[in-house]
């Protein structure tokens, strides 16, 4: 496909910064705008861009059905897991300050970060799954 050189080159240059930005938005949600939802969507969008340029089959090689299905509940389980960890540490469900991670403020900060990462994983996985399952190959 010689006519698609431009798309391929652009995608190669665009996807890494987009993914880095998605991770930044997830990790930086506590101090700036953004968070798990937005960052997850950006991460998912970078993979969708890959599929749009390289085709559905190439995308399936990069991230297999098993990986997608594994990541889908992973984030939600991380979220619930942090909540249960708070319970086990003697606090209420999702009471981050009870986590044994130094002072309560620090624990809350880390708890929120963990929750954001969980949200990001699930949202990204759902976005990718929605696209993979809905799109049809012959359109690309």
């Amino acid at each position: 496909m010689p006519g698609r050189v431009m798309e391929r080159t652009m995608a190669k240059m665009l996807i890494p910064p987009v993914q880095l930005y998605g991770l930044y938005v997830i990790a930086h949600g506590e101090n700036g705008p953004g968070g798990g939802f937005q960052g997850g969507v950006i991460l998912g969008a970078s993979l969708i861009l890959y599929v749009l340029v390289y085709g559905l089959e190439a995308g399936k090689k990069r991230i297999s059905r098993g990986t997608r299905d594994f990541l889908l509940p992973c984030g939600a389980l991380i979220y619930v897991g942090i909540g249960v960890a708070c319970l086990l540490a003697g606090g209420n469900f999702l009471e981050y300050s009870a986590l044994p991670l130094g002072n309560p403020k620090h624990a809350t900060h880390l708890g929120i970060l963990g929750v954001e990462i969980g949200i990001g994983i699930t949202v990204a996985a759902v976005m990718i799954t929605l696209f993979f399952e809905t799109a049809r190959q012959d359109e690309e």
Partner: protein, 173 residues
């Protein structure tokens, strides 16, 4: 003034998206709608909401709608709706619009410090959120800490949506 112009274009985009026979154009108009909406949120200083609107509304929704479009025809079907359906729906439309407009009469002005929303829990969050959580963006601390259950619910909703799509569409594929 800027908001008025933006809101005017918002209405134009919404009407045009409904009227368009070409569904791809409709999707593009909805993208523009979301982008304008994001700018409106920005001008209201709601940065987090604007971010979500831009990434979800203008970004991912467009792609997902186009993916859905790849499974159907690009043109809207030419089905004529009879007057006996149109007249009552127009009546309902006007009634709902009137009720909604009537509802806005009582609403406090935008940014009114005396508004109930600004007097109840919001000052508490603004005062204590940064000290209690060590997180400087208190939108995040409200979402993840004070309203952690709600956000958990949202994540479960997103997960359920993904799981349902897998269950329904994999069978078809």
């Amino acid at each position: 003034m800027l908001e008025l112009i933006l809101l005017f274009f918002l209405v134009v985009c919404a009407l045009a998206a409904v009227q368009m026979k070409d569904l791809l154009s409709s999707i593009m108009l909805l993208t523009i709608y979301s982008l304008i909406m994001a700018i409106v949120w920005m001008s209201l200083n709601a940065v987090d909401v604007a971010f979500t609107e831009a990434s979800v509304g203008a970004g991912i929704t467009t792609v997902l709608l186009m993916a859905a479009l790849s499974r159907t025809s690009r043109e809207e079907s030419n089905r004529k709706v009879s007057l006996s359906v149109r007249a009552p729906s127009l009546l309902v439309l006007f009634l709902v619009t009137a009720v909604l407009l009537y509802g806005t009469v009582d609403m406090p002005a935008f940014g009114d410090p005396e508004a109930p929303a600004n007097l109840h829990v919001a000052p508490e969050y603004i005062k204590h959120a940064v000290h209690e959580t060590g997180v400087s963006n208190f939108v995040t601390s409200i979402l993840a800490a004070y309203r952690g259950y709600d956000t958990l619910g949202e994540v479960v909703v997103v997960f359920t949506a993904g799981a349902c799509v897998i269950m329904i569409l994999r069978k078809i594929n």
